[in-house]
């Protein structure tokens, strides 16, 4: 199918989005049983009667699951329910041990909130939050015998229930209207902001690549000027920030193409494909879909004490957007520089380096320069580099004390990364101390003047700027270990230009 262009789509239609994000909490145990949630355990080794749905088993609510839900709700400016219940969502699926999901229905723990997200041009867009509720994850199926490990063409499937019962918080937006052409950007910015928020709250690592945070993108178009929403599609499990943006964009173009053709949009789930950024149809939602929700009789209502809620509210960390603004001010960065710090994931390392005693500009310089380059090259996270903020701070201190210059400092960092020990140890082992002793430098300075008589004359004539070339020569003969500032002083002194 040839899609109409994005611009053409936007010329005729106004997109309305709904985003549903599932966050796997980082609790030690599952939502309703004491099984461990550690990733990577051998199959079915973290299961019990409850999370396997064995006959007779019963759920008991994880208090930290509830606490995390309240924290998320508060951070999203939601009201916290005085009283709420769990409900059973009934449908059959082999990865769901009880064939109902213990979730919340018309009584979510948190509702009516909003999240302000900052767009690339600095504008703040407010996304209204419908609700945040607690539920449980399903098991994991592997499809065997099909060509691609996909469900189609598989001869059978194998089920591992280690993930079954891991706490999830589902966060649902109200319809996002008014984003216009920036709808895909808003979608991405919202998920990115939500992810930062979840991480700041410490309730989950929210790694999308590990499935700890998953996004469903609901999208519909309506002709400009019409109030009534169009029929929506539900693109499931979009699992990276970039994909969220692409999925929204693709669906806008696809819907526009269908509508332009005089066709109708079918309400269906769709699957997103990373390879080409397209979506394809999944299950059509017919009327047979009836989850027959009813209050979970095996669990009693949750009525969070107001004192507890207020205690959690008071302990909320600074929200990411405000924190970013504060740090940008403190570090004196332009919007663009701050953006690159954020993109590099350097906020935390820089903060810790500052905390270890380094000046902000120095801390940023090393993390965003040498270390970011290396992280980029090796495709790893900045935080995974084998150097600690304390070590970076020590290098900064050595530079400030004049014991290292930048070139030597780079070599020290290299040594630390190579596992050669602490910065001071690398300095000692490699003999990297800066030479600033006048007698040691004297010969090199004299030599440079003798080797470059023309430049020396220029300087004597008052063209002081030319001294750089002589400094360079000295640095070369001292193999970079000279204190450049001292060399410059000595040269100017000897040439009578000081």
């Amino acid at each position: 199918m040839n899609l109409v262009s994005y611009d053409d789509a936007m010329a005729s239609y106004d997109p309305v989005m709904g985003l549903e994000v599932h966050v796997e909490l980082g609790t030690k145990t599952k939502m309703f049983c004491g099984c461990s949630t550690t990733l990577g355990a051998e199959p079915n080794s973290q299961t019990c009667p409850t999370c396997l749905g064995l006959p007779g088993s019963l759920p008991v609510v994880n208090a930290i699951g509830v606490e995390s839900a309240i924290k998320i709700g508060l951070a999203l400016n939601c009201e916290i329910a005085q009283w709420c219940r769990f409900a059973r969502k009934n449908y059959f699926y082999p990865d769901m041990p009880k064939n109902f999901q213990t979730s919340q229905y018309d009584e979510p723990i948190a509702f009516n909130g909003y999240l302000d997200v900052q767009l690339e041009d600095g504008e703040i867009f407010r996304v209204q939050i419908e609700r945040a509720h607690m539920e449980e994850d399903t098991g994991k199926s592997s499809h065997i015998g099909g060509a691609t490990g996909r469900i189609h063409g598989a001869s059978h499937s194998l089920l591992d229930y280690n993930r079954a019962g891991i706490p999830l918080i589902e966060i649902v937006t109200k319809p996002i209207e008014g984003a216009g052409v920036r709808a895909p950007e808003v979608a991405k910015a919202y998920v990115a902001e939500l992810r930062e928020l979840i991480k700041a709250l410490g309730v989950s690592e929210a790694r999308m690549d590990k499935g700890q945070m998953r996004c469903d993108v609901n999208l519909s178009l309506r002709p400009h000027g019409r109030e009534k929403f169009g029929t929506r599609s539900e693109t499931k499990n979009v699992n990276s920030l970039r994909s969220v943006e692409r999925a929204a964009r693709f669906e806008i173009m696809r819907h526009a193409t269908v509508l332009d053709d005089g066709g109708t949009i079918v309400q269906e789930t769709r699957h997103f494909h990373e390879e080409d950024g397209s979506t394809t149809a999944g299950r059509i939602k017919d009327n047979a879909e009836d989850y027959r929700y009813f209050p979970e009789p095996d669990l009693v209502p949750i009525a969070p004490a107001r004192a507890w809620v207020e205690e959690l509210r008071a302990a909320l960390p600074e929200l990411p957007r405000l924190r970013r603004a504060r740090l940008q001010g403190e570090w004196g960065l332009s919007d663009q520089d701050m953006q690159s710090v954020l993109n590099a994931g350097a906020v935390q390392p820089i903060l810790e380096t500052i905390a270890a005693g380094a000046p902000a500009d120095q801390a940023r310089k090393w993390w965003m320069g040498e270390l970011a380059r290396r992280a980029n090259e090796s495709g790893t996270d900045l935080s995974e580099q084998p150097i600690t903020p304390g070590q970076v701070a020590r290098v900064c201190a050595l530079v400030a004390e004049g014991k290292l210059n930048d070139k030597l400092a780079r070599q020290v960092i290299e040594g630390v990364l190579a596992g050669q020990g602490e910065p001071d140890e690398v300095v000692a082992a490699r003999g990297l101390a800066v030479v600033s002793d006048d007698s040691a430098l004297g010969a090199a300075v004299d030599q440079a003047i003798a080797d470059n008589p023309a430049i020396a004359d220029k300087i004597r004539d008052g063209k002081v700027a030319a001294v750089g070339a002589l400094v360079g020569a000295v640095m070369k003969t001292t193999r970079g270990q000279a204190d450049a500032a001292r060399v410059k002083d000595l040269l100017l002194q000897k040439l009578g230009a000081a």
Binding site: L58, P59, N90, N99, F294
Partner: protein
């Protein structure tokens, strides 16, 4: 020591504790009895000979070492096959769980083991506890020891029949709409539905989670109380478990004094459908209580007339969800997996083959009641009825200590009589259901034989939530007075098997 099987649990425990008899001898006597009569009665689905003897030996060893034994140590018990037992099959009377061996014990099972109770085996029941006759078992009906051609009640007919047939002095049942009390009534035994939340449901295979409650079955009120104390109490694995001390039911059972108590007769439990002989024995019980010094008044609970309809919406609704887990994927029966069929089809074929008609009927009824278009009219209304019934109980208990009624409108009916008439079958639970909906405590104990058929009649006593001790106080007094009058326990009038 000839008639070990006729001993009460209290006397058995005392005899073992004093060394008059060993726990192994007691266990063996009951295993022999099961061997002799259970082909006729079909009370047991599984007899755990090895496990029972091992448990008995452990009690004897502890006694030999001079260890203190609990009040039920060495006493044999018949466990309804709806509680999980680690390493011992658990079927819930269903084909779909045939051969399933749970990897874990129910909390109740662990408590029995900890108390030194000797679990003889698992008893027959209506499939997934859905029924009032034990005819819905996939493993054949259980006979009523009073007349093997009649039903022993249900769903816990196996447990009640095991008591009446002297196959065990104690048994465990579960009561969702009367499944402990109604079998107790029709077999001339004692059955108690404790306050909802007082006996852990962890390991009780759920039929209707908000109604199910495990409880004691015995031949005497005191034995029921001893078992009640052994199994009740807070369990952190059950979120609906009450975290409060268990009422002193054993002391209450021994009190045998109802002077000064106020007792209410529920007006609505009489009239059409109530057998004359049942009402006659019930009315005699009312007189007896007066003679014993209680004040008896009539009370009205108008919403009780809606209890049965509400129950037949709530219980099937919860059941339709609870039984969804039987899908042929993780345990139990799997039918039709020939390599061509999908998981969906295999699930549907397995459930079709593995569930009996009553279970299917209730699953469909429950699915219907929870459907979006019907939820408010059916499930939602049924939950409102529940509130009204609780209010009726509250109003009644404001003026009286306990309520009484016949346990069932009729005595045991013949096997097959109501098998394909669900509505007629459902009437058996008319008087027992309100207490399940409200969550309060209730007991059935024998109050005589109906003159027209010489079959046992049950007297139901109902107490407020967490006042289970009142059941035992009234029950103990009535039992003592009747045994005095008859000169022996009612069960001795049952024909020999």
């Amino acid at each position: 020591m000839t008639d070990l099987i006729k001993y009460t649990a209290a006397d058995t425990a005392a005899a073992i504790a004093s060394g008059q008899v060993s726990a192994v001898e007691v266990a063996q006597a009951h295993l022999d009895r099961i061997d002799a009569v259970d082909k006729k009665v079909n009370a047991f689905l599984h007899v755990d000979t090895e496990g029972a003897l091992a448990a008995a030996r452990a009690v004897d060893d502890r006694r030999a070492k001079g260890e203190e034994l609990g009040p039920l140590a060495g006493v044999p018990l018949a466990l309804k096959d709806v509680f999980t037992t680690k390493g011992v099959p658990t079927t819930c009377g269903s084909k779909i769980l045939e051969g399933w061996i749970p990897p874990y014990d129910a909390t109740l099972t662990s408590r029995l083991k900890d108390a030194g109770v000797v679990i003889l085996g698992k008893t027959n029941m209506d499939e997934f506890a859905m029924g009032s006759s034990t005819e819905n078992s996939a493993y054949g009906p259980t006979g009523n020891p009073w007349d093997l051609s009649r039903i022993p009640g249900g769903s816990g007919g196996g447990s009640a029949a095991a008591l009446a047939a002297y196959e065990a002095p104690l048994a465990i049942g579960t009561d969702t709409g009367g499944s402990i009390r109604q079998p107790g009534a029709v077999t001339g035994t004692v059955g108690v539905k404790p306050t909802y939340g007082s006996v852990s449901r962890y390991g009780l295979v759920a039929f209707s989670s908000s109604l199910d409650q495990g409880g004691p079955c015995a031949r005497t009120v005191l034995d029921a109380a001893l078992l009640h104390e052994a199994i009740a109490g807070h369990d952190p694995l059950d979120s609906t478990s009450i975290d409060a001390p268990v009422p002193a039911v054993v002391a209450a059972a021994k009190l045998r004094d109802v002077r000064g108590m106020r007792i209410g007769v529920v007006k609505e439990f009489a009239g059409e459908g109530y057998q004359a002989g049942v009402m006659q024995r019930f009315n005699e019980s009312v007189e007896l209580l007066r003679e014993l010094g209680a004040e008896v008044v009539e009370v009205s609970c108008p919403s009780f007339t809606l209890a049965l309809p509400a129950y037949y919406l709530i219980a099937p609704s919860e059941a339709s969800s609870n039984l969804a887990r039987f899908d042929a994927m993780r345990y139990g029966l799997r039918v039709g997996d020939d390599g061509t069929r999908s998981a969906e089809d295999v699930t549907a074929l397995t459930r079709e083959a593995g569930f009996g008609p009553e279970v299917k009927r209730r699953i469909i009824l429950g699915t219907y009641a929870l459907s979006s278009g019907y939820y408010d009219a059916y499930y939602g209304s049924a939950q409102k009825v529940r509130t009204l019934i609780s209010r009726d109980f509250d109003a009644a208990f404001a003026g009286v200590d306990v309520l009484i009624s016949p346990t069932t409108p009729t005595t045991a009916f013949p096997i097959g009589e109501r098998a394909d008439d669900p509505m007629a079958m459902y009437l058996a639970d008319l008087c027992t259901i309100p207490s399940n909906l409200a969550g309060n405590a209730a007991m059935s104990l024998p109050c005589g034989l109906a003159p027209e058929d010489n079959l046992p009649v049950g007297l139901q006593i109902i107490a407020p939530a967490m006042a289970d001790d009142r059941l035992y106080r009234v029950g103990g007094a009535v039992e003592a007075a009747l045994n005095d009058k008859w000169g022996h326990p009612l069960l001795e009038e049952a024909p020999a098997l």
